[in-house]
Subunit: 445 residues, 2 copies
């Protein structure tokens, strides 16, 4: 029997996940504006046989753009460019159910899945911020409950649309003059609370049936949604215990939905800061930290926690009101994680910013390749992870270091593949191609 | 002084513009589902130094899919794939102002403009059909006046967004810790009838300032919109006189808007059916026509004219009520052109379908390369065209034949370029890069 393997996703972000990475001597500060940078990162990850790459997204410019890249190209456009320059690696992009229409987004995702020959994945987000609402003609951001209700109906419609152009529709029968089989092109006539969509979709069913469905919402509502729809879950945890608790909880929820827990992969974030020795790694971490501008981090933290930056002392712990506040409507569950971290480790705000600057709440691991591989193996074998969302603190260098030093150790230990076995993203993750709901209906009729 | 040159756009469509093209012995019936087909067509057009390629679009599956391709991949996805496989040719895609949000679409177009290094164009449509409305949660299609009002405000917002991230924003100043210049990243705070958009956009101003703005609405409202916003106009005309009348009218409207008429190019459609002799061309046209299925054409025509197919006799002229009907709200101006054609030439419905099957109302020219070049020269020199929208009846063969036989004649006559002189789509068309409205404000302050 072959040993169970872990999965690796490379979370790509301009010059790196550390907020000051663009200031490193070797960094290209304009990386965010260069699609070839993303293509090269994907090629590095593919050469190392990663399952997939991932692009986060939001429909808002980041801050004033003074201290880090103000934006990023639209992610499905970047993925399409990467698709033409790679062959096997999966391509996951973020898109919002709150600010898209199901017909248009289902079609774009299906198009990318075809262009990439079955490598598209969709990180489903509901877009919690005021700033995004203000770019889409809304006076207020929609309530969390409304957002997830819409997201759920959005998925129902998208799946119907992907199934509407059946796998057997195209005939290409020149002689008989039959391009397609009308019985395989089906109106969906969806009528719901948020959407009325007639269908059928005007592109064929995706190569993968549906693109891989990914989710990253850690709130109650987010977890309920993930249990119902997600096939891979990105999470941010600081400790093994947190990771185990989440893992057990989400797999139980998946089972309660009548789904197979093995078909939902949990991928915690990991920010590796590598050195040949622990001391070298610490120097690297320090170099990055010294390039941070704490006033900027404070402004960002204040927005994130919805508090006033002027009331915060960098060299004191977070004010008690902040630590003790109730979880509020629309309050990002990652904000809670940040507050808990500061409280648990009794950090000053300056120290907290140092911890966040590297990974925005994700697990930053500073150490040797062996130490990082050890931690990954522990999380993997002790029920906290099915794989990892690898977040290079600097890019490409952080990803290159991981690929060159950590991946070989994982391979030696039999934990990670040396070759791709399949050709689609679902095959990389060992996930089945979904059955077409209309074919099931016909079979049952 | 160099002679004025005409411009060539290649309008790409699966196996060709003739509805039966997919049934030709050499055609790939699955061309619509193969992005490499589109890449190859673009490469053929680029090798011939065409200004641009163009993809039409609608958010609806075509008919039942029985007699021709039911759909096409989302066009900006196809253009991004083409961008990676070409260098100089412009890339124009259709997108709707009725079923998109300005923030999302402006961002995607800007992204494609950057990925292609300044080669993106946008064919702006307002989506007139019931079928599209039914895919976007609307019970009724919006009224024409409402659609164009929204389109006008959409363009205002999109231009503000493209200008919001100023050309000088990116600094990349590692030493000073200044990634960008906040003064060049500007909120737009647009508040209008259809949209409220805060901005700024989260991608840099397009390489071209704005993507090339293209339009194809031939109704009164469409022409008013084109006069205000368009830089290239696609049209369908049957006769030189129609072409001249439209050309004179639209250039006058452009001047009345205070714009330079030379900066708005008129590109009538041309469906060349080529043969070494006229007789050979006629055989080719006949071969295509024999592959048509008239009952299917009738069904399509009936939908297009909003009449009942069952009341139509294939071997009689269109019923008098149809010919005499008033132009109705929402009635496509191309429908009127079709009715006028049938009436003017006293065609039976079967004959009319023969004429439409080739080019859906566009000018089908059957003849030798010289004859086609003559007609192009006449239209160009006699004030009916600044260039042509070349619509291969079959693809790639129809485009290849045009490139190999007609383009050399145009070159000999000094009417068409032998080399690209610029690198962007605007440079191909000899159009200026728009000034940033916020820079003008600052200069005037
Ligand atoms: C690894 C990771 C990546 C994420 N990427 C995005 C993203 O690209 N866009 C976004 O709006 N939210 C992103 N999120 C946030 C979540 O989708 C979610 O909005 C957030 O955790 C709040 O949870 P809730 O929406 O369930 O309240 C990400 C979260 C994680 C852990
Ligand atoms: C060459 C050409 C291409 C066109 N492409 C599209 C298209 O891709 N999508 C679309 O909805 N309409 C397309 N149209 C139709 C026009 O945009 C417009 O909707 C139609 O002429 C009706 O005019 P109106 O909208 O001004 O009433 C095209 C028209 C022409 C002449």
């Amino acid at each position: 029997m072959t040993q169970k393997q872990l999965h690796l996703n490379a979370f790509l972000m301009d010059s790196g996940h550390h907020e000051a990475s663009w200031r490193l001597p070797d960094s290209d500060p304009g990386a965010a504006l260069d699609v070839q940078h993303y293509v090269r990162l994907a090629q590095i990850a593919e050469a190392a046989k990663f399952d997939s790459i991932f692009l986060a997204d939001g429909s808002v410019a980041m801050g004033t753009g003074e201290f880090r890249a103000s934006g990023q190209f639209e992610p499905l456009t970047i993925l399409t460019a990467i698709a033409g320059a790679t062959e096997r690696i999966g391509l996951i992009a973020t898109a919002s159910t709150t600010y898209n229409e199901p017909y248009a987004l289902a079609r774009r995702l299906a198009s990318v899945d075809h262009v990439s020959k079955g490598r598209a994945g969709w990180n489903i987000v509901t877009s919690a911020t005021h700033e995004e609402a203000a770019n889409f003609s809304l006076a207020e951001r929609p309530l969390q409950a409304t957002r997830y209700e819409r997201a759920d109906e959005f998925l129902t419609v998208a799946k119907k649309l992907w199934d509407s152009w059946g796998d057997g529709h195209f005939l290409g029968d020149k002689e008989g003059g039959r391009w397609g089989d009308p019985a395989q092109l089906r109106a969906i006539d969806h009528v719901g609370t948020h959407f009325r969509v007639a269908g059928p979709l005007n592109v064929p069913r995706p190569v993968q049936g549906y693109p891989l469905l990914v989710q990253a919402g850690a709130s109650e509502q987010g977890k309920a949604f993930a249990a119902k729809h997600a096939e891979a879950i990105f999470v941010a945890h600081q400790t093994l215990e947190q990771g185990q608790a989440f893992y057990a909880d989400i797999k139980a929820r998946v089972a309660a939905e009548g789904r197979n827990p093995d078909h939902v992969l949990v991928l915690p974030g990991l920010v590796p800061i590598l050195g040949a020795t622990e001391a070298e790694a610490t120097v690297m971490a320090q170099e990055l930290d010294d390039l941070r501008i704490p006033e900027y981090g404070l402004r960002q933290l204040a927005t994130f926690l919805d508090i006033d930056a002027a009331t915060i002392d960098l060299d004191a712990p977070l004010p008690r009101e902040v630590v003790e506040q109730e979880v509020r409507e629309g309050f990002d569950s990652r904000a809670r994680l940040v507050i808990d971290l500061a409280h648990r480790e009794n950090l000053t705000v300056r120290q907290l910013l140092g911890r966040l600057g590297g990974g925005r709440g994700h697990n930053v691991v500073i150490g040797t390749p062996e130490q990082i591989a050890d931690q990954m193996e522990t999380w993997f074998t002790k029920g906290a992870a099915d794989g990892f969302n690898v977040m290079g603190a600097s890019l490409p260098s952080g990803l290159e270091a991981f690929v060159e030093t950590v991946v070989p150790i994982l391979r030696e230990r039999g934990l990670f593949r040396s070759e791709y076995s399949g050709t689609t993203l679902r095959e990389n993750y060992g996930l089945p191609r979904p059955v077409n709901q209309f074919d099931v209906e016909v079979a049952n009729a």
